[in-house]
Symmetry: D2
Subunit: 338 residues, 4 copies
Amino acid sequence: MILILERNLKEEEIQRIVEKVKEAGLTPHISRGEERTIIGLIGDSRAKDREYWLNVKGVEEAIRILKPFKLASREFKKKDTVVEVDGVEIGGKGVVVMAGPCSVEGREQILNIARVVKDSGAKILRGGAFKPRTSPYSFRGLGKEGLLYLREAKEKFGLPIVTEAMSIEQLELVSEYADIVQIGARNMQNFSLLEAAGKIKKPILLKRGMSAKIEEFLLAAEYILSNGNRDVILCERGIRTFETYTRNTLDISAIPILKSITHLPVVVDPSHATGKRELVIPVSLASIAAGADGLLVEVHHEPEKALSDGFQSLYPHQFKELMRKGKVISEAIGRFIL
Amino acid sequence: MILILERNLKEEEIQRIVEKVKEAGLTPHISRGEERTIIGLIGDSRAKDREYWLNVKGVEEAIRILKPFKLASREFKKKDTVVEVDGVEIGGKGVVVMAGPCSVEGREQILNIARVVKDSGAKILRGGAFKPRTSPYSFRGLGKEGLLYLREAKEKFGLPIVTEAMSIEQLELVSEYADIVQIGARNMQNFSLLEAAGKIKKPILLKRGMSAKIEEFLLAAEYILSNGNRDVILCERGIRTFETYTRNTLDISAIPILKSITHLPVVVDPSHATGKRELVIPVSLASIAAGADGLLVEVHHEPEKALSDGFQSLYPHQFKELMRKGKVISEAIGRFIL
Amino acid sequence: MILILERNLKEEEIQRIVEKVKEAGLTPHISRGEERTIIGLIGDSRAKDREYWLNVKGVEEAIRILKPFKLASREFKKKDTVVEVDGVEIGGKGVVVMAGPCSVEGREQILNIARVVKDSGAKILRGGAFKPRTSPYSFRGLGKEGLLYLREAKEKFGLPIVTEAMSIEQLELVSEYADIVQIGARNMQNFSLLEAAGKIKKPILLKRGMSAKIEEFLLAAEYILSNGNRDVILCERGIRTFETYTRNTLDISAIPILKSITHLPVVVDPSHATGKRELVIPVSLASIAAGADGLLVEVHHEPEKALSDGFQSLYPHQFKELMRKGKVISEAIGRFIL
Amino acid sequence: MILILERNLKEEEIQRIVEKVKEAGLTPHISRGEERTIIGLIGDSRAKDREYWLNVKGVEEAIRILKPFKLASREFKKKDTVVEVDGVEIGGKGVVVMAGPCSVEGREQILNIARVVKDSGAKILRGGAFKPRTSPYSFRGLGKEGLLYLREAKEKFGLPIVTEAMSIEQLELVSEYADIVQIGARNMQNFSLLEAAGKIKKPILLKRGMSAKIEEFLLAAEYILSNGNRDVILCERGIRTFETYTRNTLDISAIPILKSITHLPVVVDPSHATGKRELVIPVSLASIAAGADGLLVEVHHEPEKALSDGFQSLYPHQFKELMRKGKVISEAIGRFIL
């Protein structure tokens, strides 16, 4: 931490701040510039956060040198975390495709789509039983019934399942059925849920919040990690910007950034990032080229009848095209589609 | 709802869409333009949401004419909702000031500050017992102990209490102690929590999410209203933008907009909106001038020792100044500070 | 400037950086932390910009301590700059209202509106002769003819004129007719135009760019100031955010921030900030309450016939209402409407 | 255009609007819904813009059905525009790499870098002689001297040149030397400059403004096209968002969107989009995978000595790596590096 002091402080005021630094178990290192005095704090300055120092009288700005997350950082763990689910490795050399409908809408529907995505090479089945919806009047998922259908699809096609839990109650139920539990963008800073997710034994797929900075995203992961669950998969799904042509703006740079500063696997959801079916393939290929460890794609055999997100779901033949092109791009960068 | 069809559709494709409209119990009204055909849907088109129509083949765009929220709208209820708490009316002619520390940090602290804000004219005491924090390593509140201190402060100074609940579990506990339960910005789309909040008997102060559009904000309120709780207070607390000088950007226009399209009371949190103590007074005065029904202000007798948000908390003498100036501005627009 | 060095640099690499600092005429002050080494640069580090240091090998981050603008800063000039135009003082104790149509559309129109705003108490007449328009197919102003009408209105009603110049060529022409030359938001970083504006003898009203940070806004002002023109009026007119309800989002906090870090006058354009007639009055009152030195408001006697921005122009009776309410708010904060 | 009328309008008010529509030479098509009446305008509604209708009393909202740009649209011209410069085709099947320093800093420097990029396979040389800089105190380019060095490099290495013009004056000079004239992000809505650019005989590389929506970007291109210059190359270079980790946020989806709605070539500037050298390669590969027709990359043989943007410039060996990997990705999608 570096403290930048206000202009024209008296010596005694500076000394008072120096004392505060020492009280915090840190060694102050003072630089007296022509216009400002700055104090470098030597020691593990994570003990007191930035806010603490901003509160100290005479401190104008406090600048963090160390990243505020630990367990999620590359410094803490150099080797890539590989999350294994029923033999499928996420975060390894292979690019993992998770596909399926936005919502589980019925037994037939999910079995149908599971077959389709399995046939095209998806390794994990996605599908929502509990759906976060902006309006209370929209379809909100089949709940437990949806979980049962997902289990049936899993057993039939040998596809592990990723599905969302929106509350601590749902977390218990969902973690019985799911192989990976998803925490949605709107809950990325639902800290109670994150803590609970840190205590279960299933991997967590954590989506980036719509207005979350990368650092906040990793601090959300840190909540899970620090509660004991080390299997966290990060999912970039677009951020909110002024551009209205797409539902969100995919932050493509987040992929190489995350791969560099954290050891956790990074997947991309091109369906929510764009909100437009015709953009899903190019944006998926871009994500693989940028280094993503996987994709989370919405596919529907009859998008027109989908109860949610149909307009951004791929048709089966489009998904097949995505798998084919994704394979080529993966190989171009020395990887492969799992 | 208006449907804009794709270019060059064949007549049979148009008829297929027309059939869909009729199936939905709506009357189609077709306009054939030179370049596009559009279909107006007559009837209560809220039955099927915008997504539904976007899913229909041949529909390029679907435009909602009606607002997606009902119970929160002025059309539904013309008269202002006035939330009453222990005789304090929020949403009436008086401007209500809710003040107190960011977090309850101890018995002495909250009693001290309660006295200070009471003396200066605050009508409601704020203070967090459960604190949402970006980092798992920051101070997260005293929990139930904090609630007990809040109750003591309430009894001693006759100040009703507003405090946050972050999960369904906390909601039960908090609603025993609090007079108003706060749902924070990060939980604005925690739909499970919103539903639970709709089932309790205490007023809810709902903060706008950092990247929530006004319409989404009102749909979040709709979740609470539609579950039976009609006492919702909206709180504008700044949105996330590219500007980094302030913690958030207060959306001052949201105040008159909300007052015009909803009957719910609108208060402003100038402390989180700006994140800088020296901006709290001008921004508070601006909010009152723009028509806010109240303020939610952080005050601390020793901000330097605050465990959270000290840098944006007013000193007692500043709070007194705010109350004095706020009074004059309120009167200038024909209101008064409660 | 503070340099944060990369982790694990060898001593010789650190020494190499130290040499660079000395070469730049600065004194390095080294703090060796447990995880990082930082170097404080003593001396006027404005000589080399932040980029320069980011370029130096081994430097991970460079943090500016001093603001990058000089002439625009309060430190450089403590006393408020008061821009005087035909006896009207902008930036003094009085709040100045500049009003008129978006575009000059004809002789009758501008004379009519000039009379209306003069009667209600406006002190300066606004009106565009050269109009920046997003589409090349929109009405782009009357050009020189518009300037002639503005001059006639000025002579008839004794109202000094503010009008926009979009290029260096127009700057020459406009500055012959205008009392204040406006540089629009889209040209805020048209550096060639800013330099030219710095060389004329007329005051400049500089609008904040749609995505300009406060610091960039002041650096744009610095371009004008450093070329010799000290009469710069800053105009906050809303920034671009994700919210689509309003045309832009007025950054109300920018008013007290600018008043604190610069000596230049700060006015607000509530018409472009909101894009909605019904929001202009509350947002104007908020701006005055927050400390704005003036308003730049669109008024039209027949908004329905306006060739641009009619939907956000006040009717004459609304402008009268604004002046009346603005007067009361101004007095409430110890100022007055000029 | 579709007009949505206010609620509860009287029949005569509706008729008044209908008259307005007819006056505009359009045929009104009325749909009377239960809550609202809407009017579809049949005919070329581009004659009157959206604003015009928003101004009409009783009209609450006006929704454009047609895109506001014509010459830039795919509907206007189905076939891809291919811009040819000295035999290099931009917008054809090959992916074109334009590379060079941010600024021309001297004769040696530009000749050195020209050789480097030529050797690695770049087809066009970039380099700024006139530099837009946020601060008036930063290095602003060598001006005409820089143009002379660029010409020398061109002659020596057979590389056509792209370089920026910031004003109409510079446009004349620059277009004598450059093969492609760049208009920078900050000037994207400098309409005077766009018009002038439409009148010259050289291709224009138009960068997207930092806060420009895709539609506004294409309207800026329309300014150039409608003034007679049909050789416009669009350049996505990142937009401004709340994320501060990168300089801007590359809008990767903009690539397939633009390729779909316009016939103009689309290139990407990964250097400004990210502002970080280590992100340039992954983001470049992503851009090619998403369908970009070219890249505009900053390369410097001694980034540490660069007078601008050194921190985001590739080292020669990194540029070589980019070319090698870019080739593989291009081929994976059925294209090639030119």
